[in-house]
């Protein structure tokens, strides 16, 4: 799976160094130190996320959820306590993963057969898009995944029934360098008349989600193009788009109600 942090890429720091960095972080609040601490523990995140794999959630989603747990742990850890950070962080991360499953109720609602199909669909759709050089139809997806069209449709629907990570979760680590994330100019988004109301909300979005909106709605790229550009699966793109739009819509409508109210 592309874009996932690998143990090798995120050099683990020696424990005394972790302690030292935490003390410094508490003193200075330095963003770079915080990032460094987060990055050096992504191996732990992936390790824990893997333990929850195979329950019907894509691993990259789990890693994302687990990263939220890690960030919380980094922000809460007290370096003066007589406990290693990794010992402290593990229950926080596991708690976040468990909550994710509980909130989604996914394991209860969606039959195992569909969960498995759903997991396979992501890669089937990506592969077909590559082979066909266009987005595949449901019939093509069904043939390639050896399922009926009905099953594929059910599995696609179930993909949208879950998977909500809070908008400000932010942790973005799929295929985009930090530079790429901040390096683009969102002229399209800025040019909207109602940017007064949408603008501040857009700023709250994680960079990847904002970029996705920009590419889809202002650059007119297809979801397949975006998937390729961001190095994630089309299913992930459509889920993130749907989720982001829903949250924005809710926030905008709240605002409209207030104005009318």
């Amino acid at each position: 799976m592309s874009g996932l942090p690998s143990q090798g890429r995120h050099q683990q720091l020696p424990k005394p160094e972790v302690k030292r960095l935490f003390r410094e972080l508490r003193k200075s609040g330095d963003h770079d130190i915080r990032n460094r601490l987060i990055e050096s523990h992504l191996g732990l995140v992936e390790y824990l996320a893997r333990r929850f794999a195979g329950r019907g959630e894509p691993l990259d989603d789990l890693v994302q959820v687990a990263t939220i747990g890690l960030v919380k742990a980094v922000d809460r850890f007290d370096p003066h306590r007589q406990v290693e950070f990794s010992t402290y962080a593990t229950p926080t991360i596991v708690g976040e993963l468990k909550r994710h499953f509980r909130d989604k109720g996914w394991a209860v609602r969606v039959p195992r057969r569909l969960q498995e199909l759903n997991l396979r669909l992501g890669s089937v759709i990506s592969q077909l898009t590559q082979d066909l050089q266009r987005s595949p139809t449901v019939a093509e997806i069904a043939r390639a995944s050896e399922a009926t069209e009905e099953e594929v449709l059910e599995a696609l629907d179930s993909a949208h029934a879950y998977s909500l990570i809070s908008l400000d979760a932010g942790a973005d680590r799929e295929g985009l360098s930090y530079h790429e994330q901040i390096g683009y100019v969102d002229e399209g988004l800025e040019a909207l008349e109602d940017r007064v109301s949408v603008g501040p909300l857009l700023k709250l979005l994680p960079p990847r989600e904002r970029r996705m909106l920009h590419l889809r709605f202002f650059k007119g790229m297809t979801q397949s193009d975006i998937a390729e550009e961001l190095g994630i699966s089309q299913m992930h793109v459509s889920r993130l788009l749907a989720k982001t739009l829903a949250s924005l819509r809710e926030a905008l409508e709240d605002r409209e109600r207030e104005e009318e109210g």
Binding site: T129, R134, E149, L156, S197, L252, E260
Partner: protein
């Protein structure tokens, strides 16, 4: 395949899933690509939620009619109550979303009740 399907639901976002499911199933019969199917979902979500958000008094029912046309879908969606005057039915934000995911979108006035008409082609 019959060329017209009507879905009438209580005016609540919970039931919009049913409209989406209907759209999905029609789109699959028409051999829509995955991308267009997802665009269709986005369009339906956006239109239905705008109708729900801007009707005054609040709509109690939502009616969505699907027409099979030129291998694509033309969709008409309306509530059973006029649109309020405070908030615009389609904000420029909604418009830019809808312009990207539909091939055509217009809002018609049916005796005071707005009806959004939009088309999504299959590929």
């Amino acid at each position: 395949m019959s060329d017209r399907v009507v879905v009438r639901i209580p005016a609540s976002t919970r039931h919009v899933a049913l409209v989406r499911a209907t759209a999905t199933s029609l789109a699959a019969l028409l051999d829509f690509t995955y991308d267009r199917l997802m665009d269709l979902h986005i369009a339906i979500d956006e239109i239905c939620s705008r109708i729900l958000a801007t009707s005054a008094p609040p709509a109690t029912r939502l009616e969505v009619t699907f027409h099979v046309e030129d291998g694509g879908l033309r969709i008409e969606a309306s509530g059973d109550s006029p649109l309020g005057t405070k908030a615009p039915f389609l904000t420029s934000w909604s418009k830019s979303i809808l312009d990207s995911v539909t091939d055509r979108i217009e809002v018609q006035d049916l005796d005071g009740v707005a009806c959004a008409v939009f088309s999504v082609a299959k590929g």
